[in-house]
C-alpha cells in the first residue's frame, strides 16, 4: 500500500516551503510530490536534477509531477512506475479541500491515506477565516486536518501565537497543532512512513528541537486497535506515532497515528514490537503512555 499524505492550506501559508524542507530532509525516503501545476518555484533549484514538461527529477530519487486537472490519473501513473516511490505527497491548490482529496485517494486500490496536513500562516490564518470569499474554504480545510503546521511562528508574538492555537483547538478539532518556522518540522512527524525509529529520534531529540520522541515497547498481547486509538484520542500529546505491535494470537500489526486519525493493519514484517511516539516537548506524556500501554 502506497501511503498518501495531502498537504493543504491557503496560498502563501508555506506549503511549498514545507515540501522543500521535507525533500531536503527526506530520511532516505523516495518521495513523490504531486502538484496541480509547476508554480514559479515548486522545487528549490539546487534540488532539481532534471525537468521535463510534467516531471521534475529531484536529488535522492524523489520526483515532483504536475497533474493539471487529473490527480487520480497521476496517482495511477505513480503506482505503475517501475520503482514506485515510498510515499506520495499531494500538494493541494490553495482553495482545494484536502480531506476531499484524501477521501478520493481512498477509492483507489493500492493506496493508503496517511494523513491530512494543513499548513496555516500564523500571521494571517484567522483573518483569512473571516474573509467573505474564502473564509468558509479555510474552515473546511482545517476542520478535517490531522496535523496543522502553524507556520511562520517567528513572525508573531507569543501572545498572538497562543490566541491562534486556542482558536485552532476548535477550528481544527481533530488535529495536532505543530508550530514551525519556514516549514521546518521533522519528516517523521509529517509522514508516518519512516521505516526505522532511529530517524525520528535523531531528528527530534536534539537540543533546541521543540519536539521530543521515545520508543514505546508494547507487551506482547495487547489490542493494536486499542493502543492506536488511545494514542490518537487519549490526550497524551502524541502528534504522530508509528510502529509494530504483536497481538495475543501472534498477529503482527502496523499502527499509524496522526492527530486523531489512527490505523492498524496486519503486516508481514518481522520487526521488533516498538512504537515511536512524537510530540511537542512538555506536552508528550511519556510516563502516562507507558502506564496505559502496560494495562491494555
Amino acid at each position: 500500500m502506497l501511503p498518501v499524505t495531502t498537504i493543504g492550506g491557503y496560498l502563501g501559508s508555506g506549503k511549498t516551503t514545507l515540501v522543500n524542507h521535507l525533500l531536503r530532509n527526506n530520511g532516505g525516503l523516495r518521495l513523490a510530490i504531486l502538484v496541480n501545476e509547476f508554480g514559479e518555484l515548486p522545487i528549490d533549484e539546487d534540488l532539481i536534477e532534471s525537468q521535463d514538461e510534467d516531471v521534475i527529477s529531484i536529488a535522492g530519487g524523489c520526483i515532483c509531477c504536475s497533474y493539471g486537472n487529473d490527480m487520480m490519473a497521476a496517482l495511477g501513473d505513480l503506482a505503475e512506475m517501475a520503482a514506485p516511490p515510498d510515499h506520495v505527497l499531494i500538494e493541494a491548490s490553495g482553495v482545494a479541500i484536502p480531506s476531499a482529496i484524501l477521501a478520493a485517494v481512498g477509492l483507489l486500490d493500492g493506496f493508503r491515506g496517511d494523513g491530512i496536513v494543513v499548513v496555516a500562516d500564523a500571521e494571517t490564518v484567522q483573518k483569512l477565516a473571516k474573509d467573505d470569499y474564502v473564509g468558509d474554504t479555510i474552515e473546511r480545510q482545517l476542520i478535517d486536518a490531522d496535523l496543522v503546521i502553524l507556520n511562520k511562528i517567528d513572525l508573531v508574538t507569543d501572545e498572538a501565537k497562543a490566541v491562534t492555537e486556542n482558536w485552532l483547538s476548535s477550528s481544527a478539532p481533530s488535529a495536532s497543532v505543530v508550530p514551525a518556522e519556514r516549514g521546518q518540522v521533522p519528516i517523521g512527524l509529517v509522514l508516518g512512513a519512516v521505516q526505522e525509529g532511529r530517524e525520528y529520534l535523531a531528528e527530534t531529540n536534539h537540543e533546541g528541537s521543540p519536539f521530543e520522541s521515545f520508543v514505546l515497547k508494547p507487551h506482547g498481547d495487547l489490542s493494536a486497535e486499542k493502543l492506536a486509538e488511545q494514542l490518537a484520542i487519549g490526550g497524551y500529546g502524541v502528534v504522530r506515532a508509528k510502529g509494530f505491535v504483536t497481538e495475543k494470537d501472534g498477529m503482527r500489526k502496523l499502527i499509524h497515528v496522526v492527530g486523531q486519525r489512527w490505523q492498524a493493519s496486519p503486516t508481514e514484517d518481522e520487526n521488533e514490537p516498538a512504537v515511536v511516539c512524537i510530540g511537542l516537548k512538555q506536552q508528550l506524556k511519556r510516563a502516562e503512555i507507558e502506564s496505559f500501554a502496560s494495562k491494555i
Binding site: E37, N69, V95, I97, A103, A104, G106, L107, Y133, D136
Partner: protein, 547 residues
C-alpha cells in the same frame, strides 16, 4: 465571365440598422461584396445569379458563444436523454421518459457491439425529470453483467455504472468511504458516482476517458455538422486543454476543404501558472487560421447551481446546502486578469453563483485600474444569478455577459423549488436586466449540457418557459429582435468578432444561416420550430440535407 455570385432570397435579415432587410447578397472571395436589391449590386460587374435561396430567409450565420465540441464526440455514445435530440446525421432520437426505456436503448446499443468486452457508454441521463429516481448498478446489470456500462448524467458531474464497471475499477468492495460514492444496504457502492474525483477511476473502463473534454477528430467534424443543422457558422470550444497534438489536429481538421464552421477554442486556465498561461496563449494566437481562432482564456470560478457547487452570496442555498466550491483562488483569478489585460488577451470567466460573479467583478475592476483597457470585452459566462446591481457594475467596467438561457428551460423548475427558491429563480439569467443595464449580451446552450441551437436559445430567452410549461420571471423576457441580436452580433461582440461576422454587411465574411421561415414574422413562441436549411460559411454553401 462572372467574378462574383449574387444570392437571391425571399428575405435577407441583415442585423444592420442602415439596411435591415434586403433581397440580394453579392459574395466574392468568401466575403460580402454588397447587400440590397439586385440593382444595387449590378454596378460591381458581371455576376452569376444564384436563386437556390429564392424561397428562403437568410440571416447572418448564427454564433454560439458557449459550446463544447465534445458534443460531437458524445454522439458516438448512446443517447439516454429525456428530451428528443437531433444527432449530427440529422436523426432525431426520441427522449426516454422512463428507466425501462433507457435500459431498452442500452440493450439496442449492446446488440450492435461485436466485441464481447466492449463497454456501453451512455450520456445525458437526467433523473430530475423522473422524480429524481436513483439508478443503481442492479438496474444496469439487467442490460449486461459481463461488459462494463457507464452513463454520464446531463450535468456532466454524475455517472451511473453497472457492477462489472465497479469491479473493473476495484470499487466493488465494502469499506469505500467517500461522499461521492453512495453505498447500498449491502455496504457496496450503488453504482452512482458523484464528482470528477470518483468518476475518473471508473471512466476509462466505461469508455469515458480522461481527455473527453477534448473532442477527437471525428468529434469535431460531427460537431460542425450539428452547426450546419442549427444555422451556426461560428462556435466556441469553451474550454479546451489545447495540447500541442490537439492543436495540430484541430488546425488540420478545420482547414479541410469542406469543414463548415469557424471554431474558437478557449484555453482552460488550469495546469499552468498565470505567467505560463499567458505565454502559452500568446503562442496559440500565432497559430490561428480562418477557421480556428486561438488565443483566448477560460477561467472557471465556481461549480454549478443544481450541483450545489456554485458560490452563492447570502442567504445561500434554499435547501440549506453548504456553499459551493472555488475552482480558482481569488489571487489566481486576479493575476490572470492583470496579465491578460496587459497582453491584450481575451478572458471569459465561468461564474454561476452570484458570489463568484461578485468576485470576478471586483478582481477585474481592480485589474482595470492597473491596466486601463477601453475595449477588453472580458465576459462572464453563465452568470446565472447576477442581480441588477451586479449588471450595472459590469456595464461600468465594460464587461460582457453570456447568459445561459437554455438552462432556464431545462432546470428552471428545479431552481424554483429546490436550489435557490422562487425569488432568485425568477431573476436567473436576467436578459432584460442585462440589456437595460447596458451590458453587451449573448445567450448560449453550453452544448452538450443542452442541445446546440441558437434559435431554440432565442426562444428560451423570449419566452422563459420552463420544462414544466410555466413562465418563470416574466419581467426578464426579451423581444424577438433582441434575442436575434444576441445570437448574432451580441455573441460576436463578446468574441471580438463583430467586425468580421454577426451581420450581413459589406466586407464581412459571407456567413449565413439559411432558414425556411422568417424569425421576425413567425412569433416568439415559434422561434424554436423554424427549420434550418443549412448554412453558408466563408461563401461555401452547406445544405444540411447533403451532410
Amino acid at each position: 465571365m462572372s467574378d462574383f455570385r449574387v444570392y437571391a432570397a425571399k428575405k435577407v435579415i441583415t442585423m444592420d440598422p442602415n439596411r435591415p432587410v434586403a433581397t440580394h447578397i453579392a459574395v466574392r472571395d468568401g466575403r460580402i461584396l454588397g447587400v440590397g436589391q439586385l440593382s444595387d449590386l449590378e454596378p460591381w460587374g458581371d455576376y452569376e445569379l444564384d436563386d437556390r435561396f429564392a424561397d428562403k430567409v437568410i440571416m447572418p450565420g448564427l454564433i454560439e458563444g458557449h459550446s463544447h465540441t465534445m458534443e460531437g464526440t458524445l454522439w458516438t455514445k448512446t443517447y439516454c436523454g429525456y428530451f428528443d435530440r437531433m444527432d449530427p446525421h440529422g436523426k432525431t432520437w426520441t427522449g426516454m421518459k422512463t428507466l425501462d426505456a433507457v435500459l431498452d436503448r442500452l440493450r439496442e446499443a449492446e446488440a450492435e457491439l461485436e466485441d464481447p468486452n466492449a463497454p456501453i457508454t451512455g450520456w445525458q441521463l437526467d433523473p430530475i425529470y423522473m422524480d429524481n429516481m436513483k439508478v443503481s448498478r442492479h438496474d444496469l446489470d439487467k442490460v449486461s453483467t459481463t461488459r462494463p456500462i457507464g452513463i454520464l448524467h446531463a450535468s456532466g458531474h454524475i455517472m451511473n455504472v453497472n457492477s462489472k464497471a465497479l469491479e473493473m475499477a476495484g470499487l466493488l468492495k465494502t469499506g469505500n468511504n467517500h461522499p461521492g460514492v453512495p453505498l447500498g444496504e449491502d455496504g457496496l457502492p450503488t453504482g452512482e458516482l458523484k464528482g470528477p474525483d470518483v468518476m475518473t477511476p471508473v471512466g476509462p473502463h466505461v469508455g469515458l476517458n480522461r481527455s473527453l473534454t477534448d473532442a477527437d477528430e471525428q468529434g469535431i467534424r460531427d460537431f460542425a455538422k450539428l452547426c450546419v443543422r442549427t444555422g451556426v457558422t461560428t462556435a466556441t470550444d469553451l474550454a479546451a486543454r489545447l495540447t500541442d497534438e490537439g492543436v495540430d489536429m484541430m488546425v488540420r481538421v478545420t482547414s479541410e476543404k469542406d469543414f463548415p464552421a469557424c471554431i474558437m477554442p478557449f484555453r482552460f486556465f488550469l495546469g499552468l501558472t498565470p505567467k505560463e498561461l499567458i505565454e502559452n496563449v500568446k503562442g496559440l494566437k500565432e497559430r490561428s487560421t480562418d477557421r480556428l481562432r486561438l488565443g483566448q482564456i477560460k477561467i472557471v470560478a465556481d461549480g454549478s447551481i443544481q450541483g450545489f457547487s456554485a458560490r452563492l452570496r447570502w442567504p445561500g442555498y434554499h435547501n440549506g446546502a453548504p456553499n459551493g466550491l472555488w475552482y480558482v483562488s481569488p489571487e489566481q483569478m486576479s493575476e490572470i486578469y492583470h496579465l491578460a489585460l496587459e497582453a491584450g488577451i481575451l478572458v471569459h470567466t465561468h461564474t454561476n453563483g452570484d458570489q463568484a460573479t461578485q468576485l470576478a467583478i471586483e478582481k477585474l475592476g481592480a485589474a482595470l485600474q492597473a491596466h486601463p483597457s477601453r475595449d477588453h470585452r472580458f465576459t462572464l459566462q453563465h452568470c446565472q444569478l447576477a442581480d441588477a446591481a451586479q449588471f450595472r457594475k459590469m456595464a461600468k467596467l465594460g464587461m460582457c455577459v453570456n447568459l445561459f438561457a437554455n438552462h432556464h428551460f431545462y432546470w428552471g423548475d428545479e431552481h424554483y423549488r429546490l436550489t435557490v427558491g422562487p425569488d432568485r429563480a425568477e431573476r436567473m439569467n436576467a436578459c432584460r436586466t442585462a440589456l437595460d443595464s447596458g451590458v453587451p449580451m449573448a445567450i448560449h446552450s453550453d452544448a452538450p449540457i443542452t442541445p446546440l441551437g441558437p434559435l431554440f436559445t432565442a426562444w428560451c430567452a423570449v419566452n422563459r418557459i420552463t420544462a414544466s410549461g410555466r413562465v418563470q420571471g416574466h419581467n426578464e423576457r426579451i423581444a424577438v429582435d433582441e434575442a436575434l441580436y444576441a445570437i448574432t452580433l451580441g455573441a460576436a461582440y463578446t468574441l471580438h468578432l463583430d467586425g468580421e461576422v454577426g451581420s450581413i454587411e459589406v466586407g464581412k465574411r459571407a456567413d449565413f444561416a439559411i432558414l425556411e421561415d422568417d424569425p421576425t414574422e413567425v412569433g416568439g413562441d415559434k422561434l424554436k420550430d423554424i427549420e434550418v436549411w443549412g448554412t453558408v460559411q466563408g461563401g461555401r454553401v452547406f445544405p444540411a440535407a447533403d451532410l
